[in-house]
């Protein structure tokens, strides 16, 4: 069970309540595929990922980026039980998608960078700490059902 301070709770909920999921999601996933190109291994069916421009303009990447952000939404709405909230998603990523759990952290870092770029000065050290704590719990929960 993760303990959240009021500041952390408020910060996380505030960021997500103001977030444009269909902007942040596509930007974060595209950035991940560009910055860590080996992550493209999971998107063989997505068509043209040959360069940064192709990745950014790829409609399947955009759609999937939005899907991922809505997946994070589940954790935001269940801050006190993220582990159980993600049991099925963890099994899915392990058994069906075969995603190396180390890659979750890479995507999380890209989400952080995109949110930082959106919020600018507002993304203070304290806000970053709360946001990264949230993502760390998500990443850990998604890796829990691997065996």
């Amino acid at each position: 069970m993760v303990e959240w301070t009021d500041f952390e709770r408020d910060t996380i909920q505030d960021i997500f309540s103001r977030m444009e999921y269909d902007v942040v999601g596509p930007a974060a996933l595209a950035r991940c595929l560009v910055v860590y190109p080996w992550t493209q291994r999971y998107f063989g069916g997505f068509g043209n990922l040959y360069n940064a421009a192709a990745i950014k303009g790829n409609p399947m990447v955009s759609k999937h980026g939005t899907t991922i952000m809505h997946g994070l939404d589940r954790a935001v709405k269940n801050l006190d039980d993220i582990e159980n909230t993600y049991t099925e998603l963890s099994v899915l990523h392990s058994e069906k998608l075969h995603v190396d759990p180390d890659n979750f952290k890479l995507l999380a870092d890209c989400v952080t960078i995109v949110v930082a770029a959106q919020l600018g000065k507002e993304f203070t050290g304290e806000v970053q700490a709360a946001f990264q704590k949230f993502l760390a719990v998500v990443v850990s929960s998604l890796g829990r059902q691997y065996h």
Binding site: V34, I113, G125, Q128
Partner: protein, 143 residues
Amino acid sequence: MSLSDKDKAAVRALWSTISKSSDAIGNDALSRMIVVYPQTKIYFSHWPEVIPGSIHIKEHGKKVMGGIELAVSKIDDLKTGLFELSEQHAFKLRVDPGNFKILNHCILVVIATMFPKEFTPEAHVSLDKFLSGVALALAERYR
């Protein structure tokens, strides 16, 4: 993951844009680091206080960014160019090399907040590769 000519050009271009703000970047990156990764404060236990934006943090931020500027100028051979800094980190400072990654991440976050337009995914990948190369060069003399 060595730096291509494209990476070097991207790093030089980004540096020319951000270097005038290097004091602010150094201050923000270190201030952020001690808040987000409180374990890093142990390296500053000789300061009277370790708090974001303090005079010590500001001065140290300048030193760190000076090191980055040096690295940009030695981008064609980081190992040789950062030899002395590596010796200093290995034998005098003895900073666990795991922390280089932490500070690099904070630098990237600060650049994202200050230069969102310039910090495109293409610039990001080249800068990330460069900072990873700097970390590797800094760790060269450790053992």
